[in-house]
Amino acid sequence: MPNISSWKDWLLFGAIFAVLMFAAPAALSDFRLNLLGKFLALAILALGIDLIWGYTGMLSLGHGVFFGIGGYCMAMYLKLQVGAAGTYQTDLPDFMTWNGLTELPWFWKPMHHFSIAMLSAILAPALCATLLGLLTFRSRVQGVYFAIITQALALVASLLLIGQQPYTGGTNGITDYKAILGFDLADNSVQKGLYIATVLALGVSYVFCRWIVRSRLGKVLGAIRDAENRLRFLGYDPVGFKVFVFAISGALAGLAGALFVPQVGIISPSNVGIVPSIEMVIWVAVGGRGTLSGAILGTVLVNAARSGFSEQFPAFWLYFLGSLFISVVLFFPDGVIGALRYARDGFEKLARRKRSAVAEFEEVI
């Protein structure tokens, strides 16, 4: 496909990136910046969901799990950094002490090293996704079944985390960190640093995803979404592609989790369960699935709206969120980006999109 608008995209991308990178930290209060940092971390996860749902047409309701794995890996590292500074003056995380553990569980030990924690935060979810993917996709579990299986996965994961309190901190999750890489997390400049890191990570993830969806593989994904079985007769084995994209999407979720934790200061099963997993999907839906920019935009918008609304009138937040779900599905199948395109495009183009329910492939940020 000839992408005339390509260079424009990059220009715009650069501009926004610069704004996030330099303008935002200067302009925003620490509180707002921290909030924005959190949103952008989540946006990375949204990119992952967009890859698998928007582009490949598989709805995963279990991304909270991957996000959680990433988050917990980072949390373990941060918790271990506390060391003897904790309430009990022991090297053991406080919750282990009051759960009667006397020594560190094996899977905690390597998390002393930042590099290992960070790596596992990305690789562990990817591995998880690969395994589940291999199982699920080989047996040609599709569409709704996949959604429900992943949903069950989310439930199981959160139950496990809660049940294994001595090792995971139970419902409390893991919280109360002091420092990252020796920098004091309380320090605002450190928080700024984390924000910058998040922006960088988001930028890289975006470019990476864009590269994927622009490659021929990207087209194969689209073909899987349209008519997976037809694709088989062209000599492609969908399983490999689906596992691949599922793993990537899992890894992105893990990365998001790892960036989320030090900024928010807690990871707990409430980030892993069914409800958060479904909300993640709606971010993408609102922004416009099948467009990477939409995923990012949607995440920021919905979360900004959430903290805005719930600050003002909490009771109505659920009404708002609920009607958001419905109206997006009914009236803006292509989300905000889609709506923008409607506005921009001519009627002839509009008529065409009406016929093809799914968002188009060309990337216009």
């Binding site: 593989l217 689209g222 349209d226 007769f233 062209l234 492609y236 084995d237």
Partner: protein, 253 residues
């Protein structure tokens, strides 16, 4: 005699009791253009399903080319072996452009994950050659979903052609085409025969007459008879189950 391109031996396929194919024997030689006809429910589409791996035979063997038994392979593996298929109801990738549809179908060394991830842009001239053949060159960048029924038929045929398979399975290629288009299709298929083996299923008898060299008549999941057009037309059993009606309808106008 040369080795067959496809050879079915005693193949039976049953769906919850109903036998779509019943101990069917069928053979085709390289370069042949074979037309399979038969009334509805004769098992024509099932025959293609078995050959292209969509359906596993309940009994019997399916041999492709030099003694490769297909019954253990999965669809994409068969496609890699060189079996291309066009479906009865045209199924193309609606959200992709016509060009991209062909690009995906285009014959590749490997169609694995990383090969596709790192592959360079497609061979445009090859694709446009096909686009000209199927008369969609000007619509290359349109979404396949917005093509007319006939155009979708063409596109899917194009997708089979560009796969460059040894055996082409073409299911009702001219359904929903005008007389002119039908002729064009016929010409295309005839031209393909020779370097490819082509297996066509069709109802439209005019079309059959246009392209048919050898015809196989299926009835209730087995081969009723086989041979050149005249032989078929003069076979009373065929006339009775199938062409009979055709003749009447022709007589009537």
């Amino acid at each position: 005699m040369p080795t067959s391109i496809i050879y079915l031996e005693g193949v039976t396929v049953s769906f919850e009791g109903f036998k779509a194919l019943n101990n069917l024997n069928f053979i085709m030689y390289p370069g042949e253009l074979r037309v399979v006809i038969g009334p509805n429910g004769a098992g024509k589409t099932t025959l293609l399903d078995v050959i292209s791996g969509k359906v596993r035979p309940t009994a019997g063997r399916v041999i492709f080319g030099e003694l490769t038994d297909l019954s253990s392979l999965r669809e994409h593996e068969m496609a890699k072996l060189g079996i291309g298929r066009k479906f009865q109801t045209p199924s193309v990738f609606k959200a992709l452009s016509v060009f991209e549809n062909l690009e995906l179908a285009c014959h590749q060394k490997s169609k694995g994950v990383f090969a596709t991830l790192f592959s360079k842009r497609a061979e445009r001239e090859k694709i446009f050659a096909v686009l000209d053949e199927i008369g969609l060159a000007d619509k290359a960048w349109m979404k396949a979903g917005s093509l007319s029924h006939g155009e979708k038929q063409w596109l899917e045929i194009g997708m089979v052609v560009i796969q460059d398979p040894r055996l082409m399975l073409i299911d009702e290629p001219v359904a929903g085409m005008t007389g002119k288009e039908t002729e064009k299709t016929g010409a295309l298929l005839s031209s393909l025969a020779g370097k490819h083996s082509v297996l066509v299923i069709e109802h439209d008898m005019n079309f059959v007459r246009q392209i048919a060299r050898t015809i196989t008549v299926l009835h209730e999941g087995t081969v009723l008879c086989e041979g050149p057009l005249e032989k078929i037309q003069n076979d009373p059993r065929v006339a009775e189950i199938y062409l009979g009606r055709e003749h009447k309808s022709h007589a009537s106008h």
